[in-house]
């Protein structure tokens, strides 16, 4: 019993928010008479929040490194506008456009990271400047008007679904098959890790814990994919999100780069004296966020099927809030990719649920603000108790 208590206490920050997310979903499921978890609504929920989720992954790394980025919304708008002008006004091939836009986002990140890492200007100021600069440039290249629509190929990024090779059934079979393969892979990896730890004689979770955890995860994945498959199947953007989540979880937990970012955010001086190239790591985290903001900008433009000067306004706040709700520390050094995604989903589900209920956008803002405050209060309170 004491062990269980330890496990719960040790993971309360991470799982606490996951439990909250599930509770919020159940609450809205009941109060909206089951609309929330309708296949159509779940698909919409994913499409509506995909760009926030993509940027939250990048923002998480920046926040863990002990910085902040206020410019992501403007960068997303700027990239969306650039793509629109290239495709619509100059008829550039959309694949060439996507690649050059991603490169441009990366370059913007390098530019901001350079001022922050090497010239030592606080990130808050550099990215505040970036927020103004790229919003302004967006209006310049769009000349104040909306540009669109996009060709169907480009729209597919966010409004497309993976093709069903076994067409004909009511259910989207490919989606279900992918879900089975993905769950199987997760179980295989986790059991391999467990066996290795047992070989070395390290402490591991008990068999029942292991089974319970894997059953829950598998059930969640299968249920989600079942819902999706009874509508149009897996959205393309969800596939992108899955891939990003896996890549960045791997980077943050398994690689030297990840370890160095956490060390840098935990104690920059100690990290530097341990041989971590702190300046380069800071530059890289911003470059990476530039890249992901560009991707988010493309997804957003493709979803609206138009690039507008006002696109992405206020995204930075949602993205930053997602990271903090998901347990990232405002002083750096602490946070997880999954946490940031859960944080973003908490906000997303609340938006969606309140909209279905007919709560006005004004109240939605106020309620979201309170959620952010209490989530961080919970974090601070937990720390002071330890």
């Amino acid at each position: 019993m004491g062990r269980l208590k330890n496990i719960i206490q040790g993971n309360i920050r991470q799982y606490g928010m996951l439990v909250t997310l599930i509770a919020i979903m159940l609450f809205f499921q009941i109060i909206t008479d089951g609309i929330l978890l309708k296949p159509l609504n779940i698909t919409n929920l994913i499409l509506q929040n995909s760009y926030i989720l993509i940027m939250a992954i990048g923002m998480l790394l920046v926040i863990v490194a002990g910085h902040i980025d206020l410019s992501v919304g403007s960068i997303a708008a700027f990239i969306g506008a650039t793509a629109a002008v290239m495709i619509v006004n100059y008829q550039v091939n959309f694949i060439v456009t996507i690649l050059s836009c991603l490169l441009l986002g990366f370059a913007i990140g390098v530019w901001q990271g350079f001022w922050i890492a090497y010239i030592k200007i606080p990130a808050f100021i550099v990215t505040l400047a970036g927020m103004l600069v790229f919003r302004g440039l967006t209006m310049v290249i769009l000349q104040g008007a909306s540009v669109g629509p996009f060709p169907p190929g480009f729209q597919k990024i966010s409004s497309g679904f993976i093709p069903d090779i076994f067409a004909g059934s009511d259910l989207h079979i490919t989606t279900l098959l992918l879900a089975v393969v993905f769950s199987g892979a997760l179980i295989y990896l986790d059991s391999r890790k467990r066996t290795k730890r047992l070989q070395h004689g390290f402490d591991t979770s008990s068999v029942s814990m292991f089974l319970a955890k894997n059953c829950l995860i598998t059930a969640a994945i299968m249920y989600l994919c079942y819902l999706l498959s009874s509508y149009k199947g897996l959205p393309n953007v969800l596939v992108i999100l899955f891939v990003l989540t896996i890549i960045y979880t791997f980077i943050t937990t398994q690689t030297v780069y990840g370890r160095h970012i956490f060390a840098l955010g935990g104690n920059e001086k100690a990290a530097k004296l341990s041989g971590v190239k702190t300046n380069r790591m800071v530059l890289l985290t911003f470059a990476n966020l530039g890249l992901l903001s560009a991707l988010a900008g493309l997804v957003f433009a493709a979803r609206l099927n138009v690039a507008t000067p006002k696109a992405g306004t206020g995204f930075e706040l949602d993205v930053i809030a997602a990271c903090f709700i998901g347990g990232a520390s405002a002083t750096g050094g602490i946070g997880t990719v999954i946490g940031a995604l859960v944080g973003a989903l908490v906000m997303g589900v609340m938006n969606n649920g309140m909209s279905i209920m007919g709560v006005g956008i004004d109240w939605q803002q106020a309620i979201k603000g309170m959620v952010l405050l209490f989530a961080v209060f919970f974090d601070v309170y937990n720390k002071s108790k330890n």
Partner: protein, 516 residues
């Protein structure tokens, strides 16, 4: 009894893992200068923090009586209200405010919340005259020297109608004439009825001004001496401070010194902010295989700056000079290159520069050499755990698990984690900066044992320490630093505390004559 302004009875204060004060008594009479002496870590500063309310009532045991009344200070403003003012070793001034603003910080001369600048200036000037500070009250604190900053602190204390002034190592960073002035000021205050407690390592100063002396050792009072009898000798005080037989504080080892490993020639370093200030001045030194080399010197003598500049140019600018290892010049211009060339630097400030406190023991230890446990892109966490368990056993790190956060460890165990971290990088040359600062006697002995073992394994070790007994106890050879220069070198067998201090003093004398 009625003559006492301050009585502290049976003060006991414990930190996790260390008993810093154990049943300490201190009585200060009206209008006297009371010196508090003891080795580093004897509990002097802790006692003063208890007295001034930094450690609030309830966090310690014992009673405090000030002017006959029992006190229960919850914070520093409580003690200041009664006229107890403490001036810390690290001055607590705001650099970009003026002298006048600093003097009245927290005590602004204001009417209905609006500052009365005229009164502020007039009063500041008066206080500055009292302490002999000749500057304009408008000058920013950052633009005056350390000696004058000290005077600003004292003027600030006077503005609070001080009855008992506590000075923690006030002359550590001052030169001879500034120190003289400060001591004169204390005597002046005594005439005016202000008592002071003077914490100092400089026994000649203590003898010069103190009316009585209390000696602390390992958190306990040894004795209180009355200077009026005039039979106080420096030897007597030192014996009281050190107390135990030095030979038993340091483990024995068989010394086997090999060929020359490291040679530094003509090393110069300038201050990172003030490009004209030379912090390390033409230092040359050498180090042999299996040797434990000591660098002694006062605070601010440039020892840490030397070590950090050697380790990847981590301190200073315009660094020049050569570093040779096994007769070939090596590049130490970044930390990474220094590590690759077999150097390691264990910092004096483990919380700021050594550990990532929010992370576990494992991540802290492997950070210096993650490549060695990485396959392709992936860190092999099982390998990590095996290595760290090994260190835990070898260095006897007391923890619930190597996944425990380092913030929750005691000072001695934190120090062992920092040591492990640098041993994991597998260096040939280890620079240990104040390796036993702030840890208790038992853990110190363990650290010394580890140092000996490493030397026996053929590693070369540089120990930087302010504690002369420690330098004498663990080192084979000693360099003495002062004002950024090496001013002496001696074999440990021939060295003594007096000889080292004399070395430092002589150079200070020479400098004085040189400039005058």
């Amino acid at each position: 009894m009625s003559n006492a302004i301050l009585e502290m009875h049976n003060i006991t204060k414990a930190f996790p893992g260390v008993k810093a004060l154990d049943d300490v008594n201190l009585t200060v009479s009206h209008g006297e200068i009371h010196a508090l002496v003891g080795e580093n870590g004897a509990g002097k500063s802790t006692l003063m923090k208890v007295l001034s309310g930094i450690y609030p009532v309830g966090s310690y045991e014992g009673d405090i009586y000030f002017r006959g009344e029992e006190c229960a200070f919850r914070d520093i403003s409580d003690s200041e209200k009664l006229g107890i003012v403490i001036i810390h070793q690290e001055l607590a001034l705001i650099p970009f405010l003026s002298i006048a603003e600093n003097i009245f910080l927290g005590n602004e001369q204001a009417r209905h919340g609006v500052i009365d600048w005229h009164t502020t200036h007039v009063k500041a000037k008066k206080l500055m005259d009292k302490v002999g500070l000749q500057e304009s009250p408008d000058v920013l604190v950052t633009n005056v020297g350390v000696g004058k900053q000290q005077l600003v602190e004292i003027a600030k204390a006077l503005s609070k109608e001080v009855k008992l002034l506590i000075l923690d190592e006030p002359t550590a960073t001052l030169n001879e004439s500034e120190s003289g002035k400060l001591l004169q000021l204390l005597l002046q205050f005594k005439e005016q009825g202000i008592s002071s407690i003077l914490i100092s390592h400089k026994l000649n100063e203590v003898e010069q001004v103190a009316d009585s002396i209390t000696i602390l050792r390992d958190g306990a009072t040894v004795e209180t001496l009355d200077c009026k009898n005039g039979d106080i000798s420096e030897d007597h005080i030192i014996f009281g401070m050190v107390g135990r037989d030095l030979t038993h504080r340091f483990p024995k080892r068989t010394v086997d010194i090999g060929k020359k490993v490291l040679e530094v020639q003509g090393w110069n370093v300038y201050h990172p902010l003030h490009a004209a200030r030379k912090v390390v001045d033409d230092v040359s030194l050498n180090l042999r295989e299996g040797e434990v080399l000591g660098i002694a010197g006062l605070m601010g003598s440039g020892r840490t700056e030397l070590a950090m500049s050697l380790f990847g140019h981590s301190y200073g600018q315009n660094i020049s000079g050569t570093v040779k290892k096994h007769e070939t010049i090596i590049d130490v211009s970044t930390v990474e290159r220094a590590i690759r060339n077999g150097l390691a630097y264990v910092t004096e400030d483990r919380k700021t520069f050594g550990l990532i406190l929010d992370q576990d023991i494992k991540n802290n230890i492997t950070l210096t050499n993650l490549q060695s446990v990485t396959n392709g892109l992936v860190i092999d966490q099982n390998q990590e755990i095996l290595h760290c368990r090994d260190f835990k056993d070898k260095l006897n790190i007391k923890c619930s698990s190597i996944l425990q956060k380092t913030v929750n460890l005691s000072g001695g165990n934190q120090q062992k984690v920092v040591l492990s971290k640098w041993l994991f990088a597998n260096p040939d040359i280890l620079i240990l900066d104040e390796p036993t600062r702030g840890i208790d006697v038992g853990a110190k002995f363990e650290i010394y044992t580890i140092i000996n073992k490493l030397a026996t394994e053929g590693k070369s070790i540089i120990v930087i320490s302010s504690e002369l007994p420690e330098i004498l106890g663990v080192c084979d050879r000693i360099y003495i630093m002062n004002e950024g220069r090496i001013v002496g070198e001696m074999e440990a067998k021939e060295a003594s505390q007096e000889k080292i201090m004399k070395c430092i003093m002589q150079q200070a004398e020479e400098l004085k004559h040189g400039t005058s």
